[in-house]
Symmetry: C2
Subunit: 178 residues, 2 copies
């Protein structure tokens, strides 16, 4: 169903993003990775792992699923999506997952970017490191009982913290996972 | 919690998008609207309204919630989010909603854009027009039993049609709406 791709014209290119046009339509591409993954990770105690960090584009702290770019680190050429999911979960939360399963692939905002995000469900979690992200990242980790997620998110919002729209996609995927 | 905004530098600007930098971080902004809304609309028969259209950035058809830009049409200055939700639902699906309620606000992809999307739940639906979008839009409307949504989406994906990651956010919001 996918037609051949018309020619892509680069309007502006930087280290991380490319502003491009195709067929008279402008949009943005990530320049430094091959894909994006997010992880809906549930502990044996039924707690969802969430991360909180300052995001310059929205000038605020944001609550998100652990997530990251595939193949964006030195030596990570050819990294698989599942490998990236394991790596990001460990880097951001300190947890290692026995089970890492791809469950859903969706486009982020198809009017303005070609970004596609692949969701994994992670179970069988064991904390083996401190987490918090790699150099330059200051990530706060939250472990939230899945059954109390709505009230908890509401509370964070009252503090002026923003929520990632895809976070609830992760909650839905976990709830409907058999 | 929101610090004062550091100065914004415009790298490239077009009719619809602005590629900008702030504090050494590059991202993209929509240039022609004040906000983005999406509607999780459920008919009295328990069917979710979804739209399908070709999206140039991903070079494929995409299944999404009815959605749109606030204040992007001539004479629409000062349009409220709820007004835009009513207008977009009618334009895209032909349905008028008795009830249109804001339920969630989330950021789209906070590492690359400041786009924020506000979700509405629409009920009390009555079809009063054909839908299909405004000039230039070729939107196909689907009415999918909410109870069968996972299987239906899987079937569309097998046809090479892409899914919007925020679609499941809408499903979650409807399922947890009391």
């Amino acid at each position: 169903m996918t037609p051949p791709e018309p020619e892509l014209r680069v309007l502006t290119s930087t280290k991380y993003l490319r502003f491009v046009a195709r067929d008279g339509w402008e949009f943005v591409q990530r320049a430094n990775c091959t894909a994006v993954i997010a992880i809906a990770a549930l502990t044996d105690e039924g707690k969802l792992l969430l991360v909180e960090q300052f995001r310059p584009p929205v000038n605020a702290k944001v609550i998100e699923l652990p997530a990251g770019l595939v193949g964006d680190e030195p030596g990570a050429d050819g990294e698989s999506l599942a490998d990236a999911a394991h790596r990001e979960l460990l880097e951001e939360t300190g947890y290692q997952a026995n089970e890492m399963r791809e469950v859903f692939r969706g486009v982020t905002s198809a009017g303005m970017t070609d970004e596609t995000i692949t969701f994994f469900i992670a179970r069988g979690l064991r904390r083996i490191a401190h987490g918090g992200g790699v150099a330059g990242e200051k990530i706060v980790i939250h472990e939230v009982p899945l059954a109390e997620i709505d009230a908890w998110l509401w509370g964070r919002e009252q503090l002026g913290i923003k929520l990632d729209a895809r976070l609830l996609t992760g909650v839905y995927l976990l709830q409907s996972d058999t």
